[in-house]
Structure formats: C-alpha cells, structure tokens
C-alpha cells in the first residue's frame, strides 16, 4: 500500500465517520436549493431574463456545492493539523499528505455536486446533465481549493470559516445575476465563470468555450497556489530517509 493510498484511506474514514460532514453532503444542498428557488419566486418583478425560481435554484445549487466543498477543503486541513504534523515527523512526505487531502476533497465534491444536481433536476429541466455536473464539480473544486488555501494561510476555525462564508455569500450574490453589477471585480470572482457555465448547461445545453477555459484556468491557478502556500507555510518537509 502506498503512502498516498494509506493517507487517503485514513482521511476518508475520518471524514465519513463525522456526522456533520454527512449532513453537509446530503442535507444542506436540498435545503439550500429549495430555499433559493422559493425565495426568488417571491420576486417575479425582477428582470432576470428567465423564470426567477429557476434562476434562484440554479444559484442555490452552485452555492450549496461550492460552499460545502469550501468548508470541506478548509476543515480537511484544520481538523487534522496536529495529527498531520506528527505524521510528517514520522516520515510522511508533505506532498503525499496534501495530495491525500485533495483526493478526499475531490471525492466529497463529486458527491455533493451529484446530490445538488439531483435536487435541482427534480424541479427544473436540465438541458445537458453531464455538462451541468461537470460545471458544478468545477465550481465546487474552485471553492474546495479556496478552502485549502484559507486553511493553510489562516489556520483558525472561526476566522477561516468567516472568510469563507463572507466570500462565498458575496460571490454567489454577484455571480448569480440577481444584482445587476457590471464591474471588473465581479468578473474575476471565483464563481463568475462556473455560474455562467452551469447556467448555460442547465438552460441551453451547452457551455461557451470562453467560460470553460476560464473555469479550468482558475482551477489550475488555485491548485498551484494551494500547493505553493502549503510548502511555503510548512517548509519543504521532504521524506525522511
């Protein structure tokens, strides 16, 4: 068994044995999708270009996936920090440990995206489910990596959670199109392109190439930033001979 496999298995076991994690994966998304959809239906006078309930449900689906993935990314690092330090002293490579955390994050994101999309599809016609799922997973991973970054650079439960809540809420509100904001800042927010891609996949059945490229580029930049931040904060931590 490789070190990566051993660490991934251990992290996955720890993850699924925490009921709070399971609640975030399976309970939080349905609630958010429903609340967003029903809340937006109360404002039919908004000029959103399509049914307000659908706009709300789409925004809620992306927010639920991204926020849960962000929290998982954050607490993947924070909750096991002390144990990880000891494991590194025992001989684990820092890169192996980070990679195992990312594997767990990806798996959890796939699950929460599937749950969220299933809930959305119960009340909304999804034109291209495969593309929509891909866009949703990309949005989730974007925030998952942001959670990893925050957990690395601000390793405190309360402060890290507040940063994530503030960023995700503001990002969701601005990227969903509910508020007519046309600034360069809104265009570079993490959910801007994932929201555009997800909306296109749900309503039109295709994703604009520009949005797809931007989503992938954003993910790659965040992945590199998370990796380098991890090494910068903790030193090289190479494998002990």
């Amino acid at each position: 068994m490789s070190r990566l496999t051993a660490a991934t298995r251990a992290h996955a076991r720890s993850f699924v044995r925490d009921p709070v994690n399971l609640a975030f994966l399976f309970v939080f998304p349905p609630v958010v999708v429903q609340v967003y959809g029903q809340a937006m239906e109360r404002f039919p006078e908004l000029s959103l270009g399509s049914d307000p309930g659908t706009v709300g449900s789409i925004a809620g689906t992306l927010f639920a996936t991204a926020f849960v993935a962000g929290l998982i990314g954050l607490f993947q690092l924070l909750s096991a920090r002390r144990g990880d330090e000891r494991l590194l002293i025992a001989g684990f490579g820092r890169s192996s440990l980070l990679a195992s955390r990312l594997v767990t994050l990806v798996a959890a994101t796939l699950v929460v995206a599937a749950v969220s999309l299933t809930v959305l599809s119960l009340g909304t016609d999804v034109a291209a489910p495969g593309l929509a799922y891909a866009a949703l997973v990309a949005g989730g991973l974007t925030y998952g990596l942001i959670g990893v970054l925050v957990g690395t650079l601000l390793p405190r439960d309360l402060e890290g959670s507040l940063v994530l809540v503030f960023l995700a809420d503001m990002d969701s509100a601005l990227s969903s199109g509910v508020m007519a904001v046309d600034t360069a800042v809104a265009d570079v927010l993490p959910l801007h392109h994932p929201h555009a891609a997800f909306s296109e996949a749900v309503t039109e059945g295709s994703i604009a190439a520009g949005d797809a490229r931007a989503v992938v580029a954003y993910l790659l930049v965040l992945l590199a930033a998370a990796f380098f931040a991890h090494r910068w904060v903790a030193g090289d931590g190479g494998e002990r001979a």
Binding site: R13, S14, A90
Partner: protein, 223 residues
Amino acid sequence: MPNTTKESADVVLRASNLAKTYDSWLPFGRRVEVLDGAALQLEAGEIVGIVGENGSGKSTLMQILVGALEPDAGSVDVSGSVGWCPQETRLYDRLTVAETFDLFGEAYGLDDAEVGAARDDLAERLDFERFLDYQVRHLSGGNRQKVNLAVALLHDPDVLFLDEPYTGFDWDTYLAFWDLTEELVADGTAICVISHLINERQRFDRIKELREGALHDDGGEEP
C-alpha cells in the same frame, strides 16, 4: 527537520546553541525568549531527563529536537530513526487504534507484518489490546496516552523523545512503562524524557534542568 548525519559511534543526537523566541508582528504582541544557547548531547543506551518549571520551554525544546519546530539559531544533528511521544496526543480522533498503527507504520516505512507484530507486542505490554477497535476519541485519557506512547515506539527508534510520557498512567502501566524503557536502553536506544516533575531520579543516567533558556546539570537530591 533535524539533519541526519553520521556521528561518532555513541553519540546519536547533538543539539548545539539552540535559540527560540516567540514574537508577534501585531502591535502590543508579547515577545517571549524561550531558548537561548540550549545544548544537549545524547549517547546510545542512556536515558536523560530534562526538568524545568512550567513555561520554561521544555516542550518547545522537544519540538525543536524532533524537527517539529525550527529554531531561530543553532543546529540539531541526529543519527538514526526518531520516535516522538508529544505531550498532546496528536492523533486522528476518528481512526481506530489499529488504523492509527497502520497509518503511522506506513509513515515509518514498516510492512504490514512488522506493524502487526509491534502493535500486538506494545498493546499487550501496555495493556490496551481490548481497545484496538476503538476510535481514539472514545479512549480514556490514560489509554489515549498509552496509544500515544506506543505510536512513538512502533518502529523501534534509535532516539526516543518522550514529553510528559506517563501523564494519566495507572501504577501498573507506570511500572510497565519503566520496564519497557529499561529494555530499550539495554538495546541501545537513547531516551530523552521531559517532565515538569521527576520523582525517581535513580532511573535516569543524567538529569538536566532547563532554566533561563539553557540546559544546566541538575544537582537535585533523591526525595
């Protein structure tokens, strides 16, 4: 991380001129000078105690010796493998005891058979066999400390650092602990025990006191 270099036959650890200050970049932060010129040498087959009053920097020193913390100055050279039993258990709460051994065995580079043999031996000697299927968070403080110690011993290290190792032990486990350490010392393991209170000085080859940031020979009498 400590440098792993070839030392003379008996010296397994040489720490020189260690300095560490905790500082804050925030206004009104407190600057605390913890270590200033601390030095320690450990030889194979000896057991050394380090004492010091609360807040003297014992745990900081140990974290530097094992490589968990970078000193501001000085160096630590270690030859051979290192075992570390920290004061806080630093384990994964939702893994079982057996899974914890599997994970750390992987980190130490042991195969499954070696992990199983070492785990079963330590569990029997420290009397936590019946808890192997328990998640760490469900263990009592004393049993958690037994597992904490056993994880440090799993790979039969050449140098063993123990930070307040017998906190929470009952009397039988305390005695089993000393039996175990005497065997390890006889086999050539160098052991460094850090504690705020050392009652049985005859169990140690040397005792050093951490005072004003440096280690001094301790001339305490056997109570």
